[in-house]
């Protein structure tokens, strides 16, 4: 019996030991083997508060801030602390109703919980902030929190500066987790290109939070915190006053202005019309404004200076001449007997002049912009037998133009630049199945046909001519504050592109003389400025557009390129004004005003009238209204199809006829759905009548 009992006590001891052993194994597993719990504990209890530094400021050439930081206020609410407040009074101040108030409170609670402060209304307008600041003590749980915001004191350079917006999922993915949801990031322009420089270095403060997500103190006395480093400032070549003038001149016009410093490639001004006030995309109404700008068919968000593709037209001619001169096909004294037409190919190319001798030499041909002369030398160039005929000379011609910076991205320091187009043999082989010759694309000789260039490329080509063969990649930023060796972002703008210096100075002299004549006795006399020798070339390119299935001829694009002064070039300009007629009408006076402003630092008083005349001119293409209507109504129809929400489409249905009433008022919904089939018909009827609003 005793032995039996003894063994039972041993069994009990063994049970105790066994269970304890199992517990120890599980503890070992939890605490020593698996290390995921440490991380989970950190996620539970440590809040990484990101400290955003101020973004860098952007200065112009005279160190005036084009882009600066200011403080705006967000109204922030901690739902847990909101007790017994006069909701109605707050709603009255904010100009919302109580339903909206409740909706926002619910949204805030769902998003961030009861204990975390969340934004109730962001970026309060100054008046609202002032009013709230006075009464905020009445509303426990609500607070005004500072937030740095970008401002543009000169209301200028919207396209250049770009804007800052919240990082979207694409940016977050591409950054490999560097950006997080809610971070602000440069979305276009210099803000985007110099994001790394401007943003500075985010700081991280680790804070302890409790089970209700309340922050209760710093983690480990801040041992793992990193301080925020402010973003560095950018010094640019922009002359903000010239920039303002350029934007003013582009008002109510579609087109672009680019002004470069030929010596450095620095961009003095770059304007694109239509334009917008950059402050619209920072303040309290930025979402609304962005929507308005994005839906405008005139494309105010488009930077036509780098994204617009234009046929260079006659502005190409100086380059055509230089290529022919360098290949030794012509000399400065080479002439062409133009009688008003170029008829060497089967079709005839019209010339604006028919008096004999208007193209007796190179200089005259540029001054008179003789189409026959340039068609002729174009064909000589691409059929150059010394090069080995069309199949070899044509690519050589293309490479020349590429060296002028045409047909390829220049690499300017804002994103979204367009390539332009200098066609190659492959393109023509594809179009004409290999059977083509210099007559097929003879219009390239006068800068038309398949050739496309951006205003920036044209201005840059002027720099090459002004510099007699070299250029620096056009760029805005002269220097970064506290620049170090690690900042390689500006290196490519300090490389001289000097392939074309092999063209002789005589050739450049001949061409520039011709270009000076353009201003002094040719097509661009409106551009003259006393005391300054200006070299320029006007251009005109025909333009068509298909609206409502009809091809309509629009007013020509007015083009103008120039540089000045001839002896010591300080500014090179390209101006494109869409649908405005000859280059001399609008483009040349605009360029002239900008040159005068930049070179003399001021405008003569009589020139202010000219500014007013140009600003007053509304050259917006007439089809825009119609295009806007088509876009808006199609969008409304698509919205209706998707959501069956009639609020947008009604506006378009109202015109001309009463709103169709549902046949059976008791069952409106199915009737409306049935009507959807006939809706496009209605729109078509509108289209046929072609009402232009």
């Amino acid at each position: 019996m005793s032995l039996f009992n003894q063994s039972r006590s041993t069994v009990i001891r063994l049970i105790f030991l066994g269970i304890f052993f199992i517990i120890m194994i599980q503890l070992f597993n939890l605490q020593v083997v698996s290390n995921k719990y440490q991380q989970m504990a950190m996620d539970n209890a440590v809040f990484r508060k990101v400290v955003y530094p101020n973004r860098g400021i952007i200065y112009d050439r005279k160190n005036q801030a084009i882009l600066n930081n200011t403080i705006m206020y967000d109204l922030v609410v901690t739902p847990y602390e909101v007790k017994k407040i006069d909701t109605l009074a707050l709603c009255r101040i904010l100009e919302i109703d109580t339903v909206e108030f409740k909706r926002r409170m619910l949204e805030v609670r769902l998003k961030n919980g009861n204990f975390r402060p969340s934004i109730f209304e962001d970026l309060l307008p100054p008046q609202l902030h002032a009013r709230l600041d006075e009464y905020i003590w009445k509303f426990p749980g609500f607070a005004l929190v500072e937030r740095p915001v970008r401002v543009y004191p000169y209301k200028a350079a919207a396209h250049i500066m770009g804007y800052v917006g919240e990082a979207d999922s694409g940016i977050i993915r591409r950054s490999g987790g560097f950006y997080r949801l809610g971070d602000y990031v440069g979305r276009s322009g210099l803000e985007a290109y110099y994001e790394k420089v401007l943003m500075g270095q985010r700081g991280i403060t680790k804070l302890i939070k409790d089970n209700n997500n309340r922050l209760v103190g710093s983690y480990e006395m801040g041992r793992f915190d990193t301080p925020a480093l402010a973003g560095r400032n950018l010094r640019t070549f922009i002359d903000v006053e010239v920039q303002q003038l350029a934007e003013k001149l582009m008002s109510n016009k579609v087109g672009a202005i680019v002004a470069l410093d030929p010596k450095t490639g620095g961009i003095i001004a770059m304007a694109s019309g239509p334009n917008y006030d950059p402050n619209d995309l920072t303040g309290p109404n930025k979402q609304k404004n962005y929507g308005r700008l994005a839906l405008d068919v005139a494309g105010p968000l488009l930077n036509r200076a780098v994204q617009g593709n234009y046929e260079p037209g006659s502005t190409y001619k100086p380059m055509g001449a230089l290529v022919a001169l360098d290949e030794g096909l012509i000399g400065p004294n080479y002439g062409y007997p133009c009688g008003g037409f170029y008829q060497a190919c089967m079709k005839s190319v019209k010339c604006t002049h028919d008096n004999p001798g208007h193209a007796a030499n190179l200089r005259l041909s540029i001054a008179n912009s003789c189409n026959s002369y340039y068609s002729h030398i174009y064909r000589m160039t691409v059929e150059n037998s010394k090069m080995g005929g069309l199949k070899k000379a044509f690519p050589a011609w293309k490479i020349y133009l590429n060296h002028f910076g045409l047909g390829q991205k220049l690499g300017v320091d804002i994103p979204g630049e367009s390539n332009g187009l200098v066609p190659d043999t492959a393109l023509y082989n594809r179009i004409y199945r290999g059977s083509w010759n210099s007559c097929t694309n003879v219009s390239l000789g006068i800068g038309q046909g398949e050739m496309q260039s951006t205003p920036l490329q044209l201005a840059n080509a002027m720099c090459v001519i002004a510099n007699k063969g070299f250029y620096y990649t056009p760029h805005f930023v002269k220097s970064i504050d506290n620049e170090t060796r690690a900042d390689t972002i500006l290196n490519k703008y300090r490389v001289k592109h000097e392939v074309l210096t092999r063209i002789s100075d005589e050739a450049y002299e001949a061409v520039t003389s011709g270009m000076q004549d353009v201003v002094e006795r040719g097509t661009a006399q409106a551009a003259m400025i006393p005391g300054i020798n200006i070299c320029a070339k006007t251009g005109t390119a025909e333009k068509y557009r298909i609206i409502d299935g009809k091809r309509i001829q629009l007013e020509d694009n007015s083009m103008f390129v120039c540089f000045a002064p001839r002896e010591n070039p300080q500014i090179a300009i390209a101006v494109v004004v869409e649908n405005s007629g000859f280059g001399s009408t609008w483009a040349s006076p605009i360029a002239s005003l900008i040159m005068e402003k930049y070179l003399n630092d001021t405008l003569r008083s009589e020139r202010l009238k000219e500014v007013d005349r140009i600003v007053a001119a509304n050259l917006m293409p007439p089809y825009l209204g119609r295009l806007q209507y088509i876009e808006d109504s199609t969008r409304a129809f698509r919205w209706y199809n998707m959501t069956k929400d009639t609020s947008y489409i009604m506006k378009f249905l109202k015109r001309g006829q009463p709103i169709p009433k549902p046949a059976n008022p008791s069952k409106p919904a199915p009737v409306l759905i049935n009507r959807s089939a006939s809706l496009p018909e209605k729109l078509k009827v509108q289209k046929k009548t072609g009402t232009i609003i």
């Binding site: 105790f16 304890f20 517990i23 599980q26 020593v32």
Partner: protein
């Protein structure tokens, strides 16, 4: 002998006392590390009992005073009054029904003044006394089923009442006394049967029901095949095997689903299934009205997950006293009471946990050693009862906090915050110390 030599320290087992003091102090420090906030005046809140650690210290003092009284009492007092205490305990338990206050979903608490009393906790002492008294009777022959039934009734009566008070956790503890009965000669067959039943129930939860039925049938057929010789000789074996098979399938098919739909509350079923990581198949069938407070919409395994995070984040050496981020900032629910071990796990890591568990194991083995050196059956049964109850509490509580058992709310002995619990365990232990001091005496 004792009457002649009244020195109260005579025969006292100081090892147990020191272990007891060490554990309670660890408990108070753990509660302190959970509830203490920077800048708090510790002395002030201790004296005025404003904080939980202050209150726990107060209960400790009460326990020590009670302990002193118990040690000053004659051992015979306990044998003489065991049955009266038991009756008193049952009465208390029954008084709960008219006078209870509902606290956290349980109906087992009587509240008077600022104090809460949970009779089910106290009853452990009384049941232990009564069981020891019954076992030590001369006329009790524990090999007879009649005695076994009476012993089981002594233990299970308060358990049933406790279940009725929706305090399933504490009711389970009464099963610990089967260890005592095992020591006193309960046939091992009972334990084997109980264990098999448990395996069957767990298997029912884990294995798809048709698969399990096939497995049981296969086992039955195998048994038939293996025992074909014996069956030829005795037909009754065939019937018993068939009966056994029917019983198993019945349990699997009907009894367990019945238990889960008609006996357990929904949240308890959820806890069990969340432990084994399966969807609760009886969610829609449950007919028991769920009395658990609906204020916490957190997922069912939230407690255990937070508890595992806290313990796991301690690592090998721990974060240090008062440095645990999880336990300091209330991430683990109920961490003063049922989940108090998280504090030790996070603060002192695996090393600290091993030392802590070592203390417990030392205590348990010490009690078993003490039990085995008793001359009287009463003392031995009582000692085994103490060891069993403490062991059962530790096992359930620890397994719950580290995710090995479903969440059953029972405290960790000597450590968890709670007056009734601390006083009960202290009284249990001090009576043992008193009885042990008189181990040369034969008590009946």
């Amino acid at each position: 002998m004792n009457q002649r030599n009244p020195a109260i320290s005579k025969g006292i087992d100081w090892v147990i006392i020191w272990l007891y003091i060490a554990l309670v102090v660890i408990g108070i420090l753990s509660i302190f590390s959970v509830t203490y906030r920077e800048g708090e005046n510790v002395i002030d809140s201790m004296v005025k009992m404003r904080s939980d650690y202050g209150k726990q210290t107060f209960y400790f003092i009460i326990s020590l005073v009670l302990g002193l009284f118990i040690i000053l009492t004659d051992s015979k007092f306990f044998t003489a009054t065991a049955n009266i205490w038991y009756a008193f305990g049952i009465l208390l338990l029954l008084l709960v029904f008219p006078f209870h206050t509902e606290v956290k979903g349980t109906n087992s608490i009587i509240r008077f003044g600022g104090f809460q009393l949970q009779p089910a906790e106290l009853c452990k002492v009384f049941v232990n006394l009564a069981l020891a008294k019954f076992m030590s009777r001369i006329e009790t022959n524990f090999t007879r089923p009649r005695s076994q039934l009476i012993a089981a009734a002594i233990v299970l009566a308060p358990a049933l009442i406790t279940v009725a008070q929706k305090e399933t956790g504490l009711a389970l503890v009464f099963f610990a006394f089967f260890i005592v009965m095992f020591r006193e000669g309960l046939p091992a067959g009972y334990l084997v049967t109980g264990f098999s039943l448990a395996v069957l129930i767990v298997a029912t939860l884990l294995i798809e029901k048709n698969t399990l039925a096939v497995i049981i049938t296969a086992i039955a057929i195998a048994a038939l095949y293996l025992m074909r010789r014996q069956i030829k000789r005795r037909r009754s074996i065939l019937f018993s095997i068939l009966l056994f098979w029917l019983f198993c399938v019945g349990i699997q098919r009907f009894a367990v689903p019945f238990l889960f739909t008609n006996v357990f509350q929904k949240h308890q079923v959820e806890r069990i299934f969340s432990l084994i990581g399966r969807e609760n198949p009886y969610a829609k069938l449950n007919k028991v009205r769920d009395e658990a407070p609906a204020t916490k919409p957190k997922d069912t395994d939230y407690n255990v997950r937070q508890s595992k995070i806290a313990i796991g984040s301690g690592g090998f050496a721990g974060r240090g006293f008062l440095k645990g981020t999880q336990t300091r900032f209330d991430f683990v629910p109920e961490q003063r009471t049922d989940f108090i071990f998280c504090t030790i796990g996070e603060g002192f890591g695996f090393l600290g946990s091993v030392v802590f568990m070592g203390l417990y194991l030392f205590l348990l083995l010490r009690i078993v050693t003490i039990a085995e050196r008793q001359r009287s059956v009463f003392s031995r049964c009582y000692a085994y009862g103490v060891a069993s109850v403490v062991f059962f509490h530790i096992t359930i509580n620890m397994c719950m906090t580290i995710g090995l058992a479903p969440v059953i709310g029972i405290p960790l002995p000597f450590i968890s915050y709670g007056g009734t619990s601390l006083v009960t365990f202290s009284v249990l232990l001090f009576i043992l110390i008193r009885l042990d001091a008189d181990r040369q005496m034969v008590l009946r």
